[in-house]
């Protein structure tokens, strides 16, 4: 459960500088976590209040059901998919997807995270809930190689079709690695 005492509106880090911690709506955060925990017993891996909004980590088997529940439930009504993007966690050998949901009815934002093994990166699609996810999932496939099961048109969108790499994975080099006229170690890269 969320520890409300950890959310403070103003934290002083030194005598001169006041730092704002952007506060979400703690009551609604609690309601979401409570409802999800009663509805799905094993689905919720972790929930925490990040600096700006509630962030819930969901097991990937349940991601579609959880999102559909958040969309349909009368108290929650997360009717708007703000954005969807991929992540790469090289140290855990995982790929992840981050969904940002927004309930226009309650004006509450929510971040949902899920992760999948890099060898078998398959996650259920949410295009059946929000058609807007169509291109966002194609973009995620294009850059991270996460396949969305049930997507109507799973192919590359911004890069050329012939490409075999997934460029936003961390191991993909940004610049030509064979060049020796640039010494990046000077700049801490």
């Amino acid at each position: 459960m969320v520890d409300i005492s950890s959310v403070k509106s103003v934290v002083k880090i030194s005598s001169q500088i006041t730092t704002i911690v952007y506060q979400s709506n703690p009551e609604r955060d609690q309601l979401v976590v409570k409802k999800l925990n009663t509805q799905f017993v094993d689905a919720i891996a972790k929930d925490e209040v990040m600096s700006d909004m509630l962030c819930i980590t969901v097991q990937k088997e349940f991601i579609h059901d959880v999102l559909l529940y958040l969309y349909q439930d009368k108290d929650l009504q997360y009717n708007f998919l703000t954005t969807l993007c991929g992540m790469h966690y090289p140290e855990k050998n995982q790929l992840g997807v981050v969904y940002h949901l927004h309930s226009f009815v309650n004006n509450h934002r929510l971040r949902i995270k899920t992760a999948t093994d890099i060898d078998q990166p398959v996650i259920a699609t949410v295009t059946t809930i929000w058609p807007a996810a169509n291109w966002m999932e194609r973009e995620t496939y294009d850059f991270f190689g996460i396949t969305f099961e049930g997507h109507p048109n799973m192919k590359r969108i911004l890069n050329v079709d012939e490409m075999t790499d997934f460029p936003l994975r961390k191991e993909f080099p940004l610049e030509d690695q064979t060049r020796d006229d640039k010494d990046d170690s000077m700049f801490g890269r």
Binding site: I13, M50, D52, T82, C85, F104, R109, R111, W130, A132
Partner: protein, 411 residues
Amino acid sequence: MAKERHTEYWDKDIVSSVEHKEYNTLNVGPTHPATHGVFQNVMLMDGEFIVETEQTIGYIHRAFEKIAERRPFYQITPLTDRLNYCSAPLNNMGWHMTVEKLLGIETPKRVDYLRIVVMELARIADHLVCNSVIGVDSGALTGFTYLFQDREFIYEIYEEICGSRLTTNMGRIGGFERNFSTKAWDKIRYFLKSFPVKLKEFEKLLARNRIFMDRTINVGPFSAGRALAYGFTGPNLRACGVDYDVRVMNPYCSYEDFDFIIPVGQSGDTYDRFMVRQEEMWQSLRIIAQALDKLDKIADKDTYFAKDPRFVLPPKEKVYNNMEALIWHFKIVMGETDIPAGEVYHCIEAANGELGFYLVSDGGRTPSRLHFRRPCFIYYQAYPEMVIGNMLSDAVLTMSSMNVIAGELDA
């Protein structure tokens, strides 16, 4: 006799053409005057009517999300310029506010109001391009040539503030690089006086023009429910009748101090989108006027930066003459300052809708992941649903009224 045979021949041809109906394939784009940007539509045409269309995008994809993973925060600002290049200052401010949110920097009211002046000018410049281009695509070039003088004037104001025009790279994390000059204030005040006259004239040219109304009313309508499902934001969503505006729903940069109206349409057609943008320009003018009043009331005229020493660049004369200042300048620009680990999502109401920055920092000098929520990219996927069954000339108008900017589409 001959005439009879002729009729017979044509009758046969009609029958056969109905039996074996053939569609044409038409390429609109990648470089086509009607697309106003580099993207392609492969359309299956039944005469003048669109049966099917498929979009190909990515012609100017520049991998900003990848590049950003190797750039310190200050070096990412020029990347955001090139998203929606019609209103670059909005993107710059949005990015700076995202970093401020991560660092927890509190900006003074004066900085907020200065930012609002610039952001609303940028919104006017963007809407002005979109609306005058709707006119051009429906055959009225005059409004376009009139209003581009004022867009030019807005660029001159940018020039007074930051020195550049199109891709502005304006502002700093925590405020501005320098105070607004008196010339900049003069130009802003002149703009507030002269622009309403021109805008009124433009509105008279098009808004109640019979030809323009016939060309735009009920062209490319979209329902509110479908628009929400497709992730529409900004003027396109408001034209469908949903009063969602980030400035009001999640106020940032002291927008809660201002009094303005969110215009909404009814049917979400091209005319509604035009009128919503038109009214937003009037509201932006109102906001700028209010901001000027509020700025006049603030006694301290020298604050243009947050009182947080971590990201204040030292003045140039000190950088050139003082070793410590030079080192400090270098450290800030090259990202050698301490960045906390964490993740934030910050969104602003850009000219096309909710422009979001999802920034994940692992405490290093660059973001470990930066994702742009680009409104164009998300709402342009609804385009086939809006134009299928309509005529090609209407599809062109629908596209220009959606204001699809290739830079924002492809990132």
